[in-house]
Symmetry: C2
Subunit: 691 residues, 2 copies
């Protein structure tokens, strides 16, 4: 389908449904694109190209189009786990084959994939005679917005995504006050006060929802966005390496996809499978071992300072034999682990995360120290063999923790040993962590070197049949399609923030699905039942109702879903806990009923291999009434509907733990009306009744 | 022996033989030292201290002396291998216990060890309540010289020692022209035109020889010296890391020793064991497996472009099956390896180095690429099992090559695999290499991170019973006492420079023993017999006579000594080759007969466990006559003396290969007179005759 030659005046375009992309060259041979939705401009003419170190023109001007290829694809595929059992991938692909009118006659392809709900495009550097290795100094990609949209943003920090979202017009973006007032972050590296992180969510005055992110981030730094607050143009801002370069590449190479998801319905943004579709299928590994699960953890008790990760108060507290002196506050001790195992077994929670089981925590972060953890040596009060065999005898899977304190070099040189140990002990899942400044020093959590590090760990875990839950990682870009063992990550401001900082506001969980979760599942750690006076600190609370905590199991999808609170707190509310015990982590179908970023999210999901549905609905600080038709249920059938609702006097600041549980029998032609408290939510289970 | 309190006016001093060190505090509580030799000042009052990041006073002023300890030690010890079989360590040690009059009451000890031939001192940060982790921003140590001495220096390059030496007055030091005109270096990082590398050799107008270096460089960056050309003060210039810091430390910590070797006889500088004595004894590992040896190599043929390290001309030259297409020029092929093995076996050369045996060389350096080599995959034309078993059957030990292309991260993550492979194949020695810019990017060959990397590789090699010959490493600091498997390193401008750059001048080998070799053995790769028209390039030559090449086996000590030229070139001169075959690599005794940096070096050594002696004498571009009494021979005994001397018409530029071999019978009361050609040398074997 290649065309012979395209004159510079010609506009090349490709459309799918309401989405249209147009590409054109200017007189200097610079390439631009624009995007429309239903005839309305979404992205005005915006520059494309790369700046290569040591060459002012390479891959950015003097282009001529030597060919265009257009193909259409309509296929379906089945994820190993996820929100739906089948995903349709219907897109048109336009590849522009460009050649530069420079001495090297350099070749660059740009491929656009246009879907009903948006577009992805990437740069492809073919193998060619006059270029082999090159260093990207800057990516020139721009997103020129058509208006001063409302934007949900966090700062463009090279090392952290753990910020609360700010809602502002594009022209008002300024991350400085946010960076300066956000507490509790171990590393903050924000070099540009006008930079924001992706996924970036916007809403136009005329009701268009626009999300900018990227897909398939491999061997390239993360893309953040620098905003020009005057002309409303976002430009790609790649995360630099230790010497200020962006990416070390060798032809042939394909960059990650730059993605735009667009709709006039906010719900479509949450339903979009565009980013997953732009990722590669999983490799033909044996992936049957990968199983979603819920898990409890020896974790929240450390967050709320009931116990500690460390065994001793300080690395210097040693006895005459040179051994650490126990502080008596160590969480991951044998007895406590068995206590958690008993609880998990009793309530059929599949997994138990154990943090602080291994030596090193007396001295773990803040010092840019390279060799802290060895990933194999348990503390003396943690009888790892006894705990492991006890868990096995009770059918509880242990998720072991590999905290790196940001020292990726140390983890890499011990990776073989650590994973051999995991395999030998029979552990099928690891939570990794990167708290602290990265080593190699000067590298960042979101730079190319660390992107490749996460990939190496993922590859090793796949080889060893270990599932991963990665904390302090770069935000996801749909790579869990290709690597289904990369089940969840943090890369955002989770529940833990409530325990050690000013916490999360009630709108936080209504924004996350439009931003952080666009790239993939988040280990948000829902399920807190004791919502205030955290760790006996009256200033620390979780700003939701208890019912909203239940709803999060539906609204925040993750195949690894934590049951985050302490067993003792669940024991106080056994009826509400029943929802957490029941709610699945793998689904055949998902419907976003109602959603508006910063306001509310209502999602209903169909349990995998079952006819049962689960609904979660949340609101921000405003009370709302959920009023939804049950048309997703099977026609002509009745369901036993168990409704977990905020009590009438519940409020996220007062009486957050008050709820009601009611049972009704309903069918698809009926409606459900439920009141949500300020900062509240509801959770509903629909159990199909036999005929 | 602690003294109660020392007033600030008090001068503390310690002396051994002619060497005296004095220490004093000024009114600001800054600490200074000075050094004398035979009553003459060598180092004028010079500052001591460290600058810690984020603190202007810590470890550099407001000191008070809270105690001094003086001890004297006189012991002997036996190195595993070396120039002598027994080393005497006779020194006085002065430890100044300092406390700062700051809020933290910080403690710092400075220890001086004074020997007959110089002094070493170091900073010791004791464990103490008010400091744990800290970052060194600058080391304040100064060396204030008493005159504008003649200096033999190379630039203070963070990534290379492979420079020719410049001879200049201190006031004339300026490395810029040297840096700009030195060709053939893959990486050069010189940020200060007034910085020089150590070991730095100086000679004063009144005949004092002074060498500044360091001993026991562990977990700290290398110390280079910044010179103030006006006041003749050298100050420590540590090699920075990727973000501009010098060292990440945790108390307790001891810095490397700063060393000053001083004598009024140049020969004493070469005989000094001060640096070895300042290093720790070897750990109680089993070190009996560590054996000095000579080795040939599939190496020089690549240097002179007769063959290549790579298998294909380019990584892109692949056939339809995706396999590299052989260029036909690959050196490390099975047949060639067997040819070398036959030669080594025939001539009783113990080892064979094979470079280019493993995949990756098509693309190995210059691109800052992280994953080049895997260290285990042989090229298709190298039947590694066949070559290995053939070598074993002939009694030849293979030295396998692990080139990292500077990508230390890649090597570290494959280190276990690489060493398991070495063990499995039965290889007892590895030559490692670091050609190229370091990864982690921004780190330097001589910075703290890489110092720790070399240490990790050395530790792994010790654990796996593998001897190391490390190229492109930081220059040595006597650590081979502690780690005798760290047998040799390059870290200097070796013979190879003649093959690909403007080469080495005839004085080069007369300077190296006073500079590079002060820290430890150098894999200089002597033994070139075809001295000009290297690789059929008439501009490339080795600027020595053939006899000087023989002499280097004695003057340049290394327990791993290469027999560097091609077998075919040795076959042309079998009588001269006999000296290389005979000369040992391990000695009971060594006497430096005559030496002057930049001029000449004559050394005679006694073979370990034998009564035979070997002499090597070299000169610079000037002809000389060696005239030495043979008093080192056993009294009353006769020796058969085989003299390899330059022919009367030999010259390093014309007829370099002309030599004479004569035999005489001589005793200890006789003299030996031998003429050395310009750029020439002589080698002599003294074989004890039976009574």
């Amino acid at each position: 389908m290649g065309l012979p030659f395209v004159t510079q005046a010609q506009i090349t375009e490709v459309a799918m449904g309401k989405v249209k992309v147009q590409v054109n060259l200017n007189g200097q041979g610079q390439l631009f694109y624009s995007m429309l939705f239903g005839g309305k401009p979404v992205i005005k003419q915006s520059l494309l190209g790369l700046k290569v170190k040591g060459n002012d023109t390479l891959f950015n001007k003097l282009f001529e189009i030597i060919g265009t290829d257009v193909t259409e694809t309509d296929t379906t595929w089945k994820p190993v786990w996820g929100e739906v059992s089948t995903i349709r991938d219907h897109h048109k692909q336009l590849t522009l084959r460009l050649r530069q009118k420079d001495a090297g006659r350099h070749l660059l392809n740009i491929t656009f994939r246009v879907f009903n709900d948006g577009v992805g495009f990437r740069y492809e550097i073919p193998q060619q005679p006059n270029i082999d290795y090159f260093i990207v100094e800057k990516e020139l990609t721009e997103f020129s917005m058509t208006g001063n949209h409302q934007t949900f943003w966090i700062p463009g920090d090279y090392d952290s995504n753990e910020y609360s979202y700010t809602r502002s017009a594009i022209s008002k973006i300024d991350n400085k006050p946010v960076v300066e007032t956000t507490g509790g972050l171990v590393v903050q590296t924000v070099e540009d006060r006008y930079s924001v992180q992706t996924p970036l969510m916007m809403k136009s005055a005329d009701g268009l929802y626009i999300n900018i992110h990227e897909a398939a981030l491999v061997n390239y730094p993360a893309m953040q966005l620098h905003v020009n607050t005057r002309n409303l143009v976002f430009s790609a801002a790649l995360v630099p390496d230790a010497v200020g370069n962006m990416a070390y590449l060798q032809a042939p190479f394909k960059t990650p996809w730059r993605t735009l998801i667009v709709s006039d319905h906010a719900e479509d943004i949450l339903s979009s499978k565009l980013i997953l579709n732009l990722n590669e299928p999983s490799k033909p590994n044996d992936v049957t071992w990968i199983k979603p699960m819920k898990f409890i953890g020896i974790w929240w008790e450390m967050q709320i300072k009931k116990s500690t990760w460390s065994f001793a108060n300080s690395a210097r507290e040693k006895n005459v034999d040179g051994n650490l002196v126990a502080s008596g506050k160590h969480g991951a001790n044998t007895a406590n682990a068995k206590h958690y195992i008993d609880f998990a077994a009793k309530h059929h929670i599949e997994g138990l995360l154990i943090e602080g089981w291994n030596t090193g925590w007396e001295d773990w972060f803040g010092n840019w120290k390279e060799n802290v953890f060895d990933f194999v040596t348990p503390y003396p009060d943690f009888d790892i063999k006894a705990v492991t065999s006890y868990a096995a005898s009770k059918g509880v899977k242990l998720i072991m923790h590999n905290e790196t304190s940001g020292s990726a070099t140390n983890y890499e040189r011990k990776l073989d040993t650590a994973f051999k140990f995991m395999n030998k002990m029979g552990y099928g899942a690891i939570k990794t962590g990167y708290v602290g400044r990265i080593i190699p020093r000067g590298e960042h959590h979101d730079g190319q070197w660390m992107i490749n590090h996460y990939q190496r760990v993922t590859d090793k875990a796949m080889e060893k049949h270990v599932a991963l839950d990665v904390h302090e990682m770069v935000r996801p870009t749909g790579l869990h399609r290709t690597y289904p063992n990369l089940m969840a990550s943090e890369a955002g401001r989770g529940t833990e923030s409530n325990a050690f900082s000013n916490g999360n506001s009630p709108d936080h969980e209504t924004i996350l699905p439009f931003t952080r979760l666009i790239g993939g599942p988040m280990d948000y750690t829902p399920g807190i039942f004791k919502l205030n006076n955290l760790g006996s600190d009256s200033s620390k609370r979780v700003r939701t109702t208890l019912c909203k905590q239940l709803a999060l199991y539906v609204t925040m999808y993750s195949p690894l879903q934590m049951v985050a609170d302490l067993p003792e707190n669940y024991k106080k509310y056994p009826d509400a806990f029943q929802f957490i015990k029941d709610v699945p982590v793998d689904w055949d179908d998902t419907k976003v009923l109602e959603a508006e970023p910063g306001e509310y999210v209502s999602i209903v999901r169909n349990e995998k291999g079952s006819s049962d549905w689960y609904l979660g609905a949340i609101t921000n600080e405003k009370p709302r009434t959920l009023n939804i038709p049950l048309s997703f249920l099977k026609k002509g059938r009745k369901y036993q509907v168990t409704i977990f609702a905020d009590a009438s006097n519940a409020h996220y600041l007062s009486n957050p733990e008050l709820y009601t549980i009611s049972n009704r029998m309903l069918g698809s032609n009926q409606k459900l009306v439920i009141k949500l408290a300020p900062g509240g939510g509801c959770a509903v289970k629909f159990k199909l009744l036999p005929l």
